[in-house]
Symmetry: C2
Subunit: 260 residues, 2 copies
């Protein structure tokens, strides 16, 4: 599989905040910011010649393994902005893609770092990223990200794992993407939904780290649990299959007071 | 409140099907088609001078009471299309807005008819639409819709109403819109999620009719039940508050074999 040799190293995607994508405070829901970000990543991959459609013809797919998203200020309904994305580095196992978010005045309001693996859909095992010949030339480590590298998110405590889940969720048709996987953004939607309107009334999510561990299957019931960490503004979230107790994802959600 | 006297009678909105908005068959999820449609309706209302933001300053809001959506062929990822929308008629109680959907080749692939009421947010009662002075001049009954007028959707049978719900859903943060209401599209997402991947594998929703009855409150548990009608390809769906048994919405979902 050959990667284009004329694609730009930085891809830019413009968004507008649709009024149906904001929460009750009038600010865009974090899951929709993740939608913009993944759309930009996918569009850039498509231009590079390794988008989802192309990969599927080789029985391969991208799999998001870790993500960190930091948002300083959430845009409101009808506000425009852009996502800039570039590949920081690629090795045989992972590709690290960075994101910067800018508002209408070209002021950076957040960023993200995403760790992608390639999966062989026949064997359901990791595939060697060096099969995407020429992808490494798109690495652009010169542009630095202000966001820390995606790290391992620790699990909630054993005691919290045993407690009754705060939420149960049945994986439904709308959660399953073209890959027949639980849509990456849906994991994030379920995590932000672990918090109440009161939490969002005066505060906002400043940082969300997520480790994707396993696929949530159609029809499975997910058990979601949260636990405050030593930092009172930081919560650990666990999503497991309620029957097998297999971990689907782990997340850490940090909050700060709203600044508008 | 004065309505603009220079806005177009027909408003057009272009969409592109994002790869994250398609289902496992590669076709856009109906709830995202509804998103395009409501965005077009809201954008037209904004140009007319009676968009959500303007209404909120008068403590008023639009409330979707009934909708019928008919889709003949679902676009796939990356396909473009447009929504055309116009107001068919307005009286003191309701405004009927029509929608036509067109694909990239300008071929109509579906349509919708939406019945809106105006709600006074202070008293939570219907407001008189004639307060939107000048709105009636935008009625355009000359352009006919191929979709039947939104009618009353009958409830499921008493026996089916008593049965154990097929689904329970807890209303979460992401479901609550800027109006502090359950987002109109989320009702539709929960309805399409009443069906399994097997249902969608060979068939598609041809027609969805919905009567919005009451607001789903944050934290409430919704009980969803479905029942096949006399027509084996048509299902009645009921969404109730699981505690009070109050009807939140009723829907009728008609299916046909996939044509691509």
């Amino acid at each position: 599989m050959n990667i284009s040799d004329s694609a730009p190293k930085i891809f830019s995607y413009q968004f507008i905040v649709e009024p149906f994508h904001v929460d009750f405070t009038g600010h865009v829901n974090l899951s929709h910011i993740c939608d913009y970000m993944l759309y930009a990543a996918e569009s850039h991959a498509e231009i590079l010649g390794c988008g989802l459609e192309e990969l599927l013809t080789h029985n391969l797919s991208w799999f998001l393994t870790r993500a960190v998203i930091e948002i300083d200020k959430y845009p409101k309904a009808y506000e425009k902005g852009k996502v800039e994305t570039w590949v920081e580095q690629t090795n045989r196992l992972f590709s690290i893609r960075n994101i910067d978010f800018f508002d209408e005045d070209n002021k950076r309001f957040g960023g993200a770092r995403l760790m992608w693996a390639l999966v062989d859909l026949t064997t359901h095992t990791p595939a060697d990223l060096s099969t995407l010949e020429g992808l490494s030339q798109y690495s652009f480590p010169e542009r630095k990200s202000a966001v820390a590298k995606p790290a391992k998110v620790p699990d909630i405590s054993a005691a919290a794992s045993q407690a009754t889940p705060q939420k149960l969720y049945d994986v439904a048709y709308s959660d399953i993407d073209i890959n027949q996987h639980f849509n990456s953004v849906k994991y994030i939607e379920k995590i932000v939904d672990m918090f109440s309107l009161d939490d969002y009334r005066t505060s906002q999510i400043e940082r969300l780290e997520i480790n994707y561990a396993a696929e949530a299957k159609f029809g499975a019931t997910l058990a979601l649990r949260k636990e405050v960490t030593q930092n009172p503004e930081c919560w650990a979230v666990s999503m497991r299959d309620n029957t097998s107790a297999e971990t689907i994802c782990r997340a850490r959600v940090s909050w700060k007071k709203r600044n508008d």
